[in-house]
């Protein structure tokens, strides 16, 4: 079977080294964190979001409330959703907004769940996010995102 990366043809890519973070389980844990830009309807500029967790376990991108308020006038105007994780019975209220996102030179529109809480990480999830890229999580050291 052909290597998907080779069959990708001419492509661009960007690398993000994993960052060392504290862990209860091991001394350190490395996490794939990326820098993205999101267009703000408030400032009419591309705002830079740093240390966003690239999370293949997340269906959608998720931003905390302040970040949402920086990007859109009223976060509650998005579609109401309840985000669930692995903790039974716990739900987080969020609102889906279609936001313009840039990863390096690649620009796209993705549905983003803006949480009604600030106690929520910035997450770059799969749908219209990571799935747009050939994502290579290389040996727990770096994430390379490639695209045509």
């Amino acid at each position: 079977m052909a290597n998907k990366r080779k069959s990708f043809g001419m492509c661009m890519d960007i690398e993000f080294p994993y960052t060392d973070e504290e862990s209860d389980i091991s001394e350190k844990v490395k996490r794939p964190r990326i820098k993205i830009k999101v267009f703000s309807d408030i400032t009419k500029n591309w705002e830079v979001l740093d240390e966003v967790l690239a999370d293949t376990g997340a269906d959608f991108c998720v931003f905390p409330r302040f970040i949402g308020s920086l990007l859109t006038e009223d976060i509650t105007k998005g579609k109401y959703v309840e985000i669930k994780g692995v903790v039974p019975g716990v739900k987080l209220i969020a609102y889906i907004h279609n936001l313009k996102i840039r990863v390096a030179d690649k620009e796209f529109v993705a549905p983003v769940a803006i949480a009604d809480s600030d106690d929520v990480p910035m997450i770059f999830g799969r749908v219209e996010g990571l799935d747009l890229f050939d994502a290579d999580f290389f040996e727990g050291e770096k994430l390379t995102l490639s695209w045509k």
Binding site: I25, V29, V48, E51, A58, I83, L92, A94
Partner: protein
């Protein structure tokens, strides 16, 4: 009686990648830092002291 609430997360504002502010409410300071640095890249990050992060789905 004083009730101390543990701060589990914080926002971090960076100018050209260098941290210049940390805290819970970046609303005013973010726009002030942007105003003071009109030609520089201002970025914002969210950090937690929680030591395990897990997946989410909707």
């Amino acid at each position: 009686m004083v009730i101390k609430v543990e701060q589990r997360f914080e926002y971090v504002i960076k100018v050209e990648g260098k941290e210049v502010w940390r805290g819970l409410n970046p609303t005013k300071v973010f726009f002030e830092i942007k105003r003071q640095n009109p030609r520089k890249e201002i970025s914002i990050a969210w950090r937690t002291k929680e030591k395990v992060l897990v997946c989410v789905w909707i």
